[in-house]
Each structure stands twice: as structure tokens, then as C-alpha cells.
């Protein structure tokens, strides 16, 4: 990206110049020293009281002048390097934004807020298994974290670590304990854990064949839900001798199954514990990083057009920010005519033509105002009997329930 390229270029230039300066000028100075030392050695043979030969004098004077010139040059050259150094700074200032003022009111100056933020960060660390960092943080900040909050995270982390080391036992115990709740959520976690254990036994070859068979009894409870899979697993027993790699069942050895199980476990455990799958802090900061560039842009535009007082940070952000489908947790309805979000006082209303608009828009149409009727034409092209008559009649309006989802339309 050109911002980075620009700064990179300048830095490379600076590094080059410094390296050159260093190698050349160190050599120059070394040469001067050696030259003087040579003269010194020549003189050391003669006794101290002797007068200096005029030829020597002349040469020495000349050398002095040379040395002085060289030194001045060195100092000057170093000074010149400043141009390159400051270009780096200029490139950084030109290509990166340094000022965040005026975008948000400062939430951080409030102590209570700081406490809540620290709680969120601490939970983030616990969730990611950075337990010693969380401990250090609790000590340094004086946070009060309930042991009951820590417990589920610690257990989650313990089981995940075991899974990373291909130890299924803790996960199996946990799945067993929570079987009923998992079944209520149609989770296939326990089955997949048993399957992995079974594959593990088969992998160990002929010696473990009997053990594998006995273990397969665990699949009995899954006979209804995972019939086909159980059948293929039993079929794989045929290939214990020659090894699964050379059989049609080689897909069972795919390492992806281990990544998958960690994922499934995290998902199901979090769902059971009422936690979100990903750390709220990560998601928030991710969203913030995507949101900042458009906000900074709009701030620039507002400053240029001198309407910065239009943006009061009380109600809504000034610009729509698309965070992508992953970061959408609530479905929202926005009236296609007025382009506003619906609220409890301004709910969506479904018309008989099938389109949905907000109640405020509906009221405007019902007023019979020609302009507003034309507005509606942009949304619905049929059902228009007469350009001067609004296509909506009160008796045919039905109200949508507040929990609006696209699927219901």
C-alpha cells in the first residue's frame, strides 16, 4: 500500500546513507590517524632537542590544513543527513492520521468506565487462556473478579488445552456431565468425541482391535441420530490390519477432524454457558478498526464544509458503517422512504402490496401530500390507481409485529 511504501522508501534511504557515511568516514578518519602515526614514528628516531627540518615543517602544515578540511567536511556531511531523516517524519505525517480529536467524547477519563473496561479486558484474557497475565492484571489494577466468573473460563481452557494435545478424556467427561443439555441443543459433540477416540484406537492397529470393538458399544446411544456414520465407522474395522491409510476410510485420519472438534466444543460450551463464542473485546475492537476510517473521513469533510457543529454525538453516528455480515447481531429495519431505523414508537407497517414502510412514512402518505406520494413511487410501482390518490387505504393496513425479520416478508 502506498502509504507504507512511501515511508519504507524514506527509511531505506536513511539506512543506506547512514551505512555509507559510517563506512566511508570511519575509513577516512582511520587513514588520517595512520598518516599522523607514521609521521610520529619517523620523528621518534630523532632526539627531542633537534630542530625540525623545514621540509618536514612544510609537509606538516599541509597535513594540518588537510585534516581540518576533512573534519569540516565530515561534520557538514552528517548535517546534510538531516534532510533525509526529516523526510521520514514528513512521510509518516502525510500518510497516517495523527489526530483523533472530535470523533468521540472521551470515555476513558471516567473512573467507573475504566473499571468496567478493565473487567472486560480481564475476561478477554481469561477466555484466551492467558491466565497469568489476567492474574497480574487483577493484582495491579485492584480489580474485583468473582471466582464464579473465572471458573467456566478456566475449565473451558483446560479442556481445550487437552484437546490440543489430543487428550479426549476431559472433554468426554464434560460432555457426559452435560449430555441432556447438549442433546436439547441438538449437539453432535459427544458423538464426534467418541468417534475420534474410536479412530484413535483403530489407528493403533491390530493389537487394539478388540478394544476398539468394545469401545464401539458407546455408539449405541447414537444409533438413531447418527446411523449412517456409525455404520461407516464399523466398516472401517475391516481395514485394521492393513491400516486405514490405504483404505476407502482414509478420510477418517484427516487432521482437520481435530481442529473441528475444538471448534465444536468451544461453540457448544459457550452456548451452554451463555457466553459469546468470540471475546466481546476482540469483536468490538475489530469493529472499531473498521469504523474509524469512515468516521475520520467524514470528520474531514465536515471540517472542510464547516458544518462540524451538525454532528452531535448524542443520537446516531453521522455515517453508515458496513461491518460485514459476520458482525451483524441484530436484524434492523430501516424505512426505505425516510431512511431511518424503526423504533418502538415508529414501527414498520406492512402494506397490502407487500412492501413495508415505517409508520411515519405511512402517515405522510395518508396526508395526501403529492410530493410524499411521489416518494412512494420509488419503492412500489404497482397498485397505483391514480397518480393523485395515495395507494394506501387505512382499512387495508396491517401492522407487523415488532420482531421483524426479512424471512417473514
Amino acid at each position: 500500500m502506498e502509504a507504507i511504501e512511501a515511508v519504507d522508501r524514506e527509511i531505506n534511504k536513511v539506512l543506506n546513507k547512514f551505512e555509507n557515511f559510517k563506512s566511508q568516514r570511519t575509513q577516512t578518519l582511520q587513514d588520517l590517524i595512520q598518516c599522523l602515526e607514521k609521521t610520529r614514528t619517523e620523528l621518534s628516531d630523532a632526539p627531542d632537542e633537534d630542530e625540525l627540518a623545514p621540509s618536514h615543517s612544510l609537509i606538516m602544515s599541509q597535513t594540518c590544513l588537510n585534516i581540518k578540511d576533512t573534519l569540516n567536511q565530515i561534520a557538514f556531511e552528517h548535517k546534510e543527513l538531516h534532510g533525509n531523516v526529516s523526510k521520514v517524519g514528513k512521510a509518516i505525517d502525510r500518510n497516517f492520521v495523527s489526530d483523533f480529536g472530535g470523533i468521540m467524547q472521551d470515555m476513558m477519563s471516567n473512573d467507573k468506565n475504566m473499571d468496567k473496561i478493565n473487567q472486560v479486558i480481564c475476561e478477554h484474557f481469561l477466555r484466551h487462556g492467558m491466565l497469568d497475565i489476567a492474574e497480574e492484571m487483577i493484582q495491579e489494577t485492584g480489580l474485583q473478579i468473582d471466582e464464579t466468573i473465572k471458573e467456566p473460563f478456566l475449565e473451558l481452557h483446560r479442556i481445550l488445552e487437552a484437546l490440543k494435545h489430543k487428550d479426549l478424556q476431559p472433554a468426554l467427561i464434560w460432555a457426559n456431565e452435560n449430555r441432556i443439555r447438549l442433546q436439547a441443543k441438538n449437539s453432535c459433540l459427544e458423538f464426534k468425541l467418541h468417534r475420534l477416540k474410536f479412530i484413535d484406537l483403530i489407528k493403533q492397529g491390530h493389537s487394539h482391535q478388540l478394544m476398539a470393538l468394545i469401545y464401539a458399544r458407546n455408539f449405541a446411544q447414537f444409533a438413531h441420530t447418527h446411523c449412517k456414520e456409525v455404520q461407516s465407522l464399523m466398516g472401517s474395522l475391516l481395514f485394521v490390519h492393513q491400516g486405514l491409510e490405504n483404505s476407502p476410510y482414509s478420510y477418517l485420519l484427516d487432521p482437520y477432524l481435530w481442529e473441528d472438534i475444538a471448534d465444536i466444543f468451544t461453540r457448544d460450551a459457550c452456548a451452554l454457558l451463555g457466553l459469546s463464542v468470540e471475546s466481546p473485546l476482540s469483536i468490538c475492537v475489530k469493529a472499531g478498526c473498521s469504523a474509524l476510517p469512515p468516521l475520520l473521513n467524514i470528520k474531514q469533510v465536515m471540517i472542510k464544509r464547516q458544518c462540524s457543529n451538525v454532528w452531535s454525538s448524542k443520537d446516531e453516528l453521522p455515517v453508515e458503517i458496513d461491518l460485514g455480515p459476520d458482525l451483524r447481531y441484530h436484524s434492523t429495519f430501516a424505512c426505505p422512504i425516510l431512511r431511518q431505523q424503526s423504533t418502538d414508537t415508529n414501527p414498520p407497517m406492512r402494506l397490502t402490496c407487500g412492501h413495508v414502510i415505517s409508520r411515519d412514512a405511512l402517515n405522510k402518505l395518508a396526508n395526501g401530500n403529492k410530493y410524499d406520494t411521489y416518494l412512494y413511487f420509488t419503492v412500489c410501482s404497482h397498485g397505483v390507481a391514480d397518480s393523485s390518490v395515495p395507494i394506501v387505504q387505512w382499512s387495508r393496513v396491517s401492522q407487523m409485529p415488532n420482531k421483524y425479520t426479512f424471512d417473514q416478508i
Binding site: 633537534d50 561534520a75 495523527s98 475492537v285 472499531g288 454525538s313 453516528l317 453508515e320
Partner: protein
């Protein structure tokens, strides 16, 4: 890519300012040593110009010049090495930023995780949670990418100010004299005033007067009234209850000195007063905030939505909602 432009200015600017500082120090060193060497050469020259010059004198003069030249060579090598090191820190950070562009999904997730850790380290440093930040930086291997050294240095000075010692801070003011002067900083002046107040507190009023003579003579017009009040303190006992002298003797003045130092330190390195983490968190909360998260009957809550989670819900209460012009 746009988020790099928006967020990474401090990442690059701070090592740049360090490079600048080292450059200026190197230039000073080189100039100083060059002029010393030139004095030695002038001595040698003078020897040569005189009518009679012995070999002995020559030898001594030559020795002098060689010694100075060697010293110059060593000093300039050290200085340039420091400058190059600072430039390499900049380079390393640029290289890290470059990784963002070329990565594919898993690497991108890793890079973003490192970014969050970088932001958290800086947030901890700004709050003063030094041990946590050091541990986190070590855990994520991001020590080179964060400005820990800067904050640890300022931590030392802040702690000395808390102990009511002014030496370290005055040394810092001296080291950064030219830039502070450009910023029209009053920190050094305030430190001297505080020293005066401390002398009065210890009933060393004669020393206080001497101190004032030394440091308050160059007062500017705007500061005059302040100085007058401080001087007036001489006339009152240290446990006086009369304003404004009582507040001059207040211990909290040290806290405001700490804050002033922190503010000016940040300004020197072009750091803003809010951390990047704080801004991103707020922007993210705002962008995710919908009326569903705040329905009074709690019916709209989604466990995956960060704004619906307990603490963030309270934090985001005063923030603006996300703007929504299209149904999603």
C-alpha cells in the same frame, strides 16, 4: 488498509522521534569533537609557525592530535551506530505493517490479534500497569513493536516526582531543552517554583531567597503575578490557612507536576492524550450499538452481540447509535 492509515501513526512516529533525537545528539557530539580536534591541530600549527621548533615539541603536539582524532573516531562511530539502531526500529515496524497486506485469512487473524495486544500494551502503559504490559508484550512477542521503553523511562521520572524529587525531571528538561522551548513549556519553571516552596516549607527561607535569585530572574511578563504570589509565601508560616498561600503549600501540586510532565512527554513524541485502544473501542461500540441492545424488556438481546454483554452494555449507554439507512 484504511485502518492502517488511521491507527498506526503512533507506531511509526515514536521511533522516528527517537531517531531525530539521536541524530541531533550525534550532530552535537560530532561538532564538539571536531572543534576539540581542530584546537589540537591549531596547537600543532602554532608549533610549526614558531621560528624554532624541536622534535620533542612536535612529538607532543602530534600525540595530542592523534589522541583527539581517535576519540573523535570512536565517538562518531558510537553515535552513528545509535542512529542506525533507531532507524532499524522504524524499519522493523514498517515490515510488520507490511505483513497485513499480503496475508491470507488465518495469518490476517493472527496479525489482528497482535494488533489488539499492541493496543492493550499501550493502554496498560498509559494507565501505569507496567508489569501487566511487560508480561503481555513478552507473551505476544511484540516488545519491538510497542513503545515500552519510552513509558518505562517516563515511569521513573514520575515516580521520582511522586517522591518529591526534582532532579530526574530537571535532567529530562535539560535533555529536551530545545523542543520544550519550542513548545513554550513551563515545566522547568514550575519545578523551580516547587523547589522554592519546599525550601520555605522546611523553613530554609534564606536558601529560598537565594534560589529565587538564581532561577526567577528570567521571568516573563505572564508569569510575573504567579512569581509574586510564590515570593509572598516567604512572609507566611508553613501551616498558614490563608489562601492562596495554603494551596501553594498543598502536596497536590506534585500531582499536577506529574500530569504536566506526562502531557509534555507525550507531546514531544507526538502521542495524543487518548490511547488508540480507547478510540477503537468506542468507535466499535458505537458501530455495533442498536436499539435492540437496550430494549427495556431485554427481549432483543443476542449473546453473541458484544454490546449486549453486561459491562459493554453499560459502557456504551452514552455513545451514539449506529446509523442504519438500509434494512439488514
Amino acid at each position: 488498509m484504511a485502518d492502517l492509515k488511521a491507527l498506526e501513526h503512533p507506531t511509526l512516529k515514536v521511533p522516528y522521534e527517537l531517531l531525530n533525537k539521536r541524530f541531533r545528539a550525534a550532530q552535537k557530539t560530532i561538532d564538539r569533537e571536531v572543534s576539540k580536534t581542530q584546537i589540537a591541530i591549531d596547537d600543532l600549527d602554532r608549533c610549526l609557525q614558531s621560528s624554532t621548533v624541536t622534535v620533542g615539541q612536535m612529538k607532543t603536539a602530534l600525540d595530542g592530535v592523534v589522541e583527539k582524532l581517535t576519540f573523535l573516531k570512536r565517538k562518531s562511530e558510537e553515535s552513528i551506530q545509535e542512529e542506525t539502531d533507531a532507524a532499524y526500529v522504524c524499519k522493523k515496524r514498517i515490515e510488520h505493517l507490511k505483513e497485513y497486506e499480503v496475508s491470507h485469512p488465518t495469518q490476517e487473524a493472527q496479525w489482528k490479534k497482535k494488533r489488539l495486544d499492541r493496543m492493550l500494551v499501550e493502554y496498560f502503559l498509559r494507565c501505569g500497569y507496567y508489569r501487566t504490559s511487560l508480561q503481555l508484550a513478552e507473551h505476544s512477542e511484540i516488545q519491538d513493536l510497542t513503545n515500552i521503553d519510552l513509558f518505562l523511562m517516563s515511569k521513573e521520572i514520575e515516580e521520582s516526582l511522586e517522591r518529591h524529587e526534582t532532579t530526574a525531571c530537571l535532567q529530562w528538561c535539560h535533555d529536551n531543552k530545545s523542543k520544550l522551548r519550542k513548545m513554550k513549556s513551563t515545566l522547568e519553571y514550575n519545578l523551580r517554583q516547587q523547589e522554592f516552596i519546599e525550601l520555605v516549607r522546611q523553613d530554609q527561607r534564606l536558601e529560598a531567597v537565594g534560589h529565587a535569585r538564581k532561577y526567577f530572574t528570567l521571568t516573563e511578563e505572564s508569569q510575573l503575578s504567579v512569581v509574586q504570589r510564590v515570593m509572598g509565601l516567604l512572609a507566611f508560616p508553613k501551616d498558614t490557612s490563608l489562601e492562596p498561600y495554603k494551596s501553594l503549600l498543598d502536596e497536590n501540586r506534585w500531582h499536577s507536576l506529574v500530569e504536566q510532565f506526562r502531557y509534555e512527554n507525550f507531546k514531544l513524541y507526538q502521542l495524543s492524550n487518548t490511547s488508540v485502544f480507547g478510540i477503537s473501542l468506542q468507535a466499535g461500540l458505537s458501530a455495533l450499538k442498536t436499539p435492540h441492545c437496550y430494549k427495556s424488556d431485554g427481549s432483543g438481546k443476542n449473546t453473541d452481540c458484544p454490546v449486549c454483554s453486561k459491562h459493554l452494555n453499560e459502557l456504551a449507554k452514552d455513545l451514539p447509535y449506529a446509523h442504519c439507512a438500509q434494512s439488514r
